[in-house]
Symmetry: C2
Amino acid sequence: MYSTMQDVPLTVSRILRHGSTVHGGSAVTTWTESGPERRSFAQIGTRAAQLAHALRDELGVAGDQRVATLMWNNSEHLEAYLAIPSMGAVLHTLNLRLPADQLCWIVNHAADRVVVVDGSLLPLLAPLLPRLESVEHVVVSGPGDTGLLKDCRARVHDYEQLLAGRPTGFDWPDIDEREAAALCYTSGTTGDPKGVTYSHRSVYLHSMQVLSAESFGLSSADSVLPVVPMFHVNSWGIPHAAFMAGTSMLMPDRFLQPAPLVEMIETERPTVAAAVPTIWQGVLAELDAGGRDTESLHTVVIGGSACPPAMMKAFDAHGIRVVHAWGMTETSPLGSLAHPPGGLTEEEEWPYRISQGRFPASVEARLAGPSGEIMPWDGESTGELEVRGPWIAGAYYGGADGSLLRPEDKFSEDGWLRTGDVGRITPDGYLTLTDRAKDVIKSGGEWISSVELENHLMAHPDVAEAAVVAVPDDKWGERPLATVVLKDGKGADYEELRAFLAERVARWQVPERWSVIEAVPKTSVGKFDKKVLRRQYAEGALDVSEL
Amino acid sequence: MYSTMQDVPLTVSRILRHGSTVHGGSAVTTWTESGPERRSFAQIGTRAAQLAHALRDELGVAGDQRVATLMWNNSEHLEAYLAIPSMGAVLHTLNLRLPADQLCWIVNHAADRVVVVDGSLLPLLAPLLPRLESVEHVVVSGPGDTGLLKDCRARVHDYEQLLAGRPTGFDWPDIDEREAAALCYTSGTTGDPKGVTYSHRSVYLHSMQVLSAESFGLSSADSVLPVVPMFHVNSWGIPHAAFMAGTSMLMPDRFLQPAPLVEMIETERPTVAAAVPTIWQGVLAELDAGGRDTESLHTVVIGGSACPPAMMKAFDAHGIRVVHAWGMTETSPLGSLAHPPGGLTEEEEWPYRISQGRFPASVEARLAGPSGEIMPWDGESTGELEVRGPWIAGAYYGGADGSLLRPEDKFSEDGWLRTGDVGRITPDGYLTLTDRAKDVIKSGGEWISSVELENHLMAHPDVAEAAVVAVPDDKWGERPLATVVLKDGKGADYEELRAFLAERVARWQVPERWSVIEAVPKTSVGKFDKKVLRRQYAEGALDVSEL
């Protein structure tokens, strides 16, 4: 029998309405050239309504048309975040770090009708415009060289002029909570980018999870600094969640260098921040130099790639607790978060803190072994992580025709997402990822973890960086090739490195093939690009010693 | 367009599966005559599966049949909480404090097929059984005088024997998240009790809210003591929420007296507790006597009725922070919760802390004035609070035929719940309730708050208790009648009391009619029963002075 509860959809407009009324006094502070600029949640609410009016009445945005943003983290981007889905359209966040070809492909695939762009990013957008077939309107926010747009086919608008004088309320339509709210493409390293559309429901539920004490634990007494870009999986859900809880936001815009970041922490005093490890490495160097007041900041959530344990300890020393998190575009992204169980000593907490953490209740997980069999949670058995839940993708966006794509290497027959990550899970539910599935070395029916070998190698005093990839082997199927970047002035002593590894992993896992390289090739988001190494090896472009 | 997210229902079985795996090591500790009894979440999970097998295979429970519980807060009750909805049946929690007639009416109205009962409560259940038409099975948990059941028409089972040897896994069925999970009747003071059925969706969403930092903020590092009974609006959602987050639970069973409560806090060291003010008043007296170690307990959520500010201050002095909450059976119950905004001094926090607090994002609120007009949030205008949201009732349970009842004094035409509470809301969204709508005195087109008059009167040194009710008045429509209970040895000086009030409220609000009474009549849950006073006045049973 159906319950007596009200049937109220979980929508972005509910978040917008709530944040701009109950938490109307909370603030969004955007860092600018000329200092911080503050706007209340109530103002964000009225400006979001004005933006929606402009998009509908002036630009003719209707139905589920896509409106793209090419923007840093700032108040105007937040207004777009809230207005576009609330009016029923679909917010498409463009990753400004993607190569031009991919950006064009994505905009055309999504059939974006409008692009809202920061003036500071016009030099990036302008050269692409002739290739963006569907874009009819460009809305420029903030100062920038609009002369770059003079030959532009699309109509050009100034963001502030577009909003000026429009009604400050909007009668947000009723929306089915399963409708798409936002679209984000993965920066996949192979094939075309894949689009994921988040639903109103998934955004809402994910926001609630971000707010739980077990996750980010944001409240109206907090102030959050999302360094992770709003074009990178919705800044891990922080903008929606913070607006839901009345958590004030400190938006760094394009000032993502260590010096301005530390300055904004000192002057604006956020309590929680979120970023990828590379950014925090630089912040750490600033802090280590001494004399900075970052006392307000008690927690930094780090994800995107694994945070080096040494970096976590270094932040601990500054009174800033690093919380490790795992997720991906397909998981909204909150997949797991590493809070240790209660009642442990600092030392006992350590293995929990450096793990990828525990799954929240809405993320079901399982490990699929080499032949697809479900592996036990014994802290030892490894398998590819598969997840299921209301904010996990079950398909990719097939384009404007509304079709859904379900490639079988990405989605299991029973609907689970294959994450492509390989790892193990302890009996108490803590995940440790060891490899990308495509980077696991399948040697004689067993898996060798390339990441484990890399971590050991990078702990050697002579080694600056190391990447291990699978290469074909007649006898074993695959064997590891170790590529190492040596520290200045160090020579290659492979026997020494082999002996070093043999003390730390099973002897059969120690690589026979070695190569010294200048630098490990990286992807656009700073991850090791092993595809390049494998190709270089196949083409004979590496100088390989076989021992 | 529909999103690419997985379509995964929000169900109680998901909470059960998650808690008993990822948080399998968390514990439920039940207080007993012979000390604490501990059970892990993993064990709760296997026993819930066994209970479901027993109910289905042995007792024949099928579909959405109702299974009632007449139980204190203990592990077995939690097993029933999780097993019954997960198998698709409906959990009906019986309030053991209701009068016998109401209990019988409720069981018959819900058509409960099974009652699971604590052995200690058999003296309450046994005399009712002949009147419980639908009950075919009685399952007795824990020791009790089963001889009381010897003439019972229903089959009698021992809980442990029923579970013993059954499979420890259950293939929980797929359930539409809008199906009923649990049924709870309001102990309304007028008319028949009204049933509210919580859906799987509402239970799940409500649990997520309980876990948010802005609400109870429970995590797996916490341990929670739900003193508020599991038959009282699902113990405010704590059992489901705690199982979702892996928060260990300390269950007081029937040991709700101050001495055992303080003893269990000392020995089991919970971090968070929840209860109604009357229970905590006694705990406070124990603490004030000194020498107790309740250091672990940092937060107590108090709801059910307003917590006297003096009591909040007294707990502060013991290092225990009282968090005020408001809700009702129809709101699951989390309606609002009083965390002050950040950055305030202790003194500045005070008006926020004694308010009913702020609404979470899923609870939309509005105030309806005397003629139904929507009142502003200016901190002064009062109106009846109306709420809307996914865990707010939109109807009452009409019975086994599946019908829904929507009395218009309870539900607005556009689907909002009329709470029957009158209050005001500040511009920053803090609610202060002043009256029950039915207790507001409508005098010459204006509202007089009876609760405000009562609070002022009870602050007078001669007055022990005071209740103010509306009585008919030829000239003004209604006027307040003040009934006061004097402290020992004090005489009635009405002019003094009128002068005392006149310094604190508008002169036209000061009552002309006064009566000294022995005690304020109370309802079964300890609230002032003003219905009785109004009847006594109408019947001329009060000795009234008119000044």
